[in-house]
Symmetry: C2
Subunit: 200 residues, 2 copies
DNA sequence: CAGTTTTTTCAATCGCTATTGAAGTGATTG
DNA sequence: CAATCACTTCAATAGCGATTGAAAAAACTG
């Protein structure tokens, strides 16, 4: 875990060494990016470890094994294993067949648009659809009492019905937004995809 | 906290009593709604107590005071106080001027669209804007090394640059979506599509 | 197939955030 | 203006989800 001795006796690994300068710059940039990713993913209710592991893979030129990931993220071996499994379940990283290696190697899925679309489709959409269903169920329950013979019960039921109706309307709008995003991600967004990294 | 004695000696408060039936139905409906709201708000990284308190107010016919809220949510007085303050800061509930009442009364803001829009504008937009800034900052750092005299350092810097570029593009697209949502008020879904690519 | 290395699993632990409760501050009233 | 009632604050605590670490399982290797 030490910088190898520089062959050319002249250049020492100081701030003036171009290699060292470059390495530090890259390190700063990567840190900035993975912090940002961690924050974004954390906001999206993913575990911090998922964000960190994905960032490490996404910013690596070659596939990494569990050990390298543990080292770079500071996570335990067990945590890395679980996190890798979870990331694979989400399809955001993939195992790279490494014929003559003993350890398993992984790389990040780079089609980020597809990746975000997937999360939207499998999580947000489900969530919002469930909300719509529940609100509609609540309205059905209230409907049964809306024709009550007792005046005040009826009024109360109707009051609640209008409130829940507003929520349902909003939830349906939200569902529409997510559906639109998912579809755009799959079709219209091809334009963005073209501009994104390498896809052949 | 007890059902008052029924004046008409005939009807006892059983499941056959229309009033009781109606009350139970409303209770079920409200529970369904507040559970759903709690889940949704929890997902949006709001504290559970905020969801519960807002739900109680939103589903009440008249403004409530802190005591009534504490009772119905099961929260402590201190917690209710803090939660009310926070909800007011978000503009999702408001204090109702109650001239001759000793206690302060609150009601829920009912323009839910405005309410969601506000959260999008003040939280999501800020988050995504910050992400864009950070990615662009990372790219600037990498640019300084992209012209490095050491070939491999240059290649590495360029590799990282393209990766970060993709993230930045996605973040900008996300920013566009949120901006659009804030402007269009959630319902004009067609507009979202226009916000996405902005690239041929 | 026995030995060795890598990965997975899961109970225990850790750390963090939400909540409490009691003390402190402020408001209202007779 | 003193007494009471309402509200706020914040240090301590509880509860929960993420992480660890050690042990079991699986995958290689010679």
């Amino acid at each position: 875990m030490h910088a190898p001795t520089i062959p050319t006796g002249a250049a020492a690994p100081t701030a003036d060494d171009p290699r060292e300068r470059a390495r530090l710059a890259r390190e700063r940039a990567c840190l900035l990016v993975s912090d940002t990713l961690a924050e974004l993913m954390g906001f999206w209710n993913f575990k911090p470890s998922m964000g960190r592991v994905w960032a490490v893979l996404y910013l690596s030129r070659e596939p990494l094994d569990a050990d390298a990931i543990a080292e770079r993220t500071g996570l335990s071996a067990g945590s890395v294993s679980m996190t890798l499994a979870e990331l694979q379940r989400w399809g955001v990283i993939r195992r790279v067949p490494a014929p003559r290696a003993r350890r398993r190697h992984y790389e990040a899925e780079t089609d980020i648009v597809e990746l975000v679309t997937r999360v939207l489709r499998e999580r947000e959409l489900r969530l919002v659809e469930q909300a719509v269903d529940r609100f509609e169920e609540a309205m059905r329950i209230l409907d049964e009492e809306a024709g009550s013979s007792v005046p005040d019960e009826m009024i109360h039921a109707r009051f609640l019905h209008t409130r829940v109706e507003s929520l349902a309307r909003l939830a349906r709008a939200g569902r529409g937004v997510v559906q639109q995003l998912v579809r755009a991600g799959l079709f219209d967004l091809g334009a963005i995809r073209d501009a994104l990294p390498r896809r052949r």
